[in-house]
């Protein structure tokens, strides 16, 4: 059931994106602003993926701290470092948006 839902979602995305393959480069004046549209979608996807990854990291850190309270300082250090590095992945997307959206 879950695999079917994923397949359906991929098909829907493909159907929505096929007109892009047939369109030439959008004219500068009067055409659809593909940069703004793709900026919105890409930032949303990047933030969603970053959120999921940080949730997994936080959950693992909480479990580690609960199992071994003596290692709290080390686990907390690794958690903060990991969260910052994952956060920066979403921010790379923001950087490219910032550079491309005039």
């Amino acid at each position: 059931m879950k695999k079917f839902a994923v397949l359906l979602l991929v098909l829907i995305v493909l159907i929505i994106l096929t007109p892009v393959a047939f369109a030439a480069d959008a004219p500068a004046a009067g055409g659809t602003n593909w940069i703004a549209i793709s900026a919105g979608f890409s930032m949303a996807i990047a933030s969603g993926a970053c959120g999921y990854a940080q949730a997994v990291a936080t959950a693992a850190a909480c479990e580690g701290m609960a199992r071994n309270p003596g290692a709290t300082a080390a686990v907390r250090f690794a958690l903060i470092l990991g969260l910052v590095l994952i956060e920066s992945m979403a921010l790379y997307t923001f950087a490219i948006i910032f550079l491309k959206v005039s």
């Binding site: 300082a73 250090f77 903060i80 470092l81 910052v84 590095l85 956060e87 920066s88 921010l91 790379y92 923001f94 950087a95 910032f98």
Partner: protein, 270 residues
């Protein structure tokens, strides 16, 4: 995006504008703003640098072993502290006894970025790290430094062998991957610091505006509007705390990543 001119830019250009314009003309570089040839981020960098120098010159005669003052204890906390997050603690953890020779470079960069990041908290100042050239400069320095330390330690051929991976029959795959990942370190150091400070600054300034809502609407006849206007400062304080947290954390990450890269470049094979 037009450059943001602050009072520091105006005053620094009044002091050093003519020599800077002459230097740029001699190098055939056209400044983006002819009235203020020194950009805002360079002026802020000079301000940060001069303030740090003045502070440490003030602190130096007051350092004592028997009766350390407050400033001395705070500065020592940046080197070694009970949470093991001081610069020297991190170096000793990763590199052992030879860590101390890398302390000047790593500590200076960390301190500079910390003060740069925190300078944006002062209302009329801009963080220099929010302009892409400043994190790029720091990242280039770090990149050159750790590669040069590796070459100095192992010799050029010995350092090159680090890129070939653990086993000889994988070296054809490991070499391009390692070279690419080393180049990506330069990019990631720059972009991580730059975008974090840019976004954090933006949010900070935006939510600072929420403070104004209090004075505008607190005396409103509708109690709902009055109550809601009191919520503004709450979010402002939350975002101020977030900005301070991000500033300190990014400086910390920019300290610990060069230490990790140094330990990879300089470390001995198992």
């Amino acid at each position: 995006m037009p450059e943001h001119i602050i009072w520091v830019t105006v005053w620094m250009n009044r002091l050093l504008g003519k020599p800077a314009a002459a230097l740029l003309a001699a190098l055939h570089i056209q400044p983006s703003n002819t009235r203020y040839p020194i950009p805002t981020y360079v002026c802020m960098e000079i301000l940060v640098f001069v303030s740090c120098i003045v502070f440490f010159l003030w602190l130096r005669p007051r350092i004592s072993v028997e009766k350390p003052g407050i400033a001395q204890q705070c500065m020592e906390g940046l080197l070694e502290n009970s949470m093991d997050v001081g610069a020297r603690d991190l170096l000793t953890e990763s590199l052992g006894h030879q860590g101390d020779r890398y302390l000047p470079m790593v500590g200076s960069i960390g301190m500079f970025i910390l003060v740069c990041n925190l300078s944006s908290l002062i209302p009329s100042l801009d963080a220099p790290t929010a302009a892409i050239s400043v994190p790029l400069g720091c990242a280039i320095v770090v990149f050159v430094y750790y590669n040069w330390s590796g070459v100095r330690r192992h010799g050029p051929l010995g350092y090159g062998k680090h890129f070939l991976g653990p086993v000889w029959w994988l070296s054809w795959l490991m070499l391009p991957i390692e070279l690419l990942s080393n180049a990506a370190r330069l990019l990631s150091l720059t972009v991580r610091l730059w975008v974090n400070m840019l976004v954090s600054d933006l949010l900070y300034i935006l939510f600072l505006g929420m403070f104004i809502g209090v004075f505008q609407f607190l005396g409103h006849k509708s109690p709902v509007v009055g109550y809601l206007s009191g919520m503004g400062p709450l979010f402002t304080i939350i975002f101020i705390v977030l900005h301070i947290f991000v500033a300190i954390l990014q400086a910390f990450v920019f300290t610990i990543l060069p230490i990790i890269y140094l330990s990879g470049a300089v470390g001995e094979e198992h």
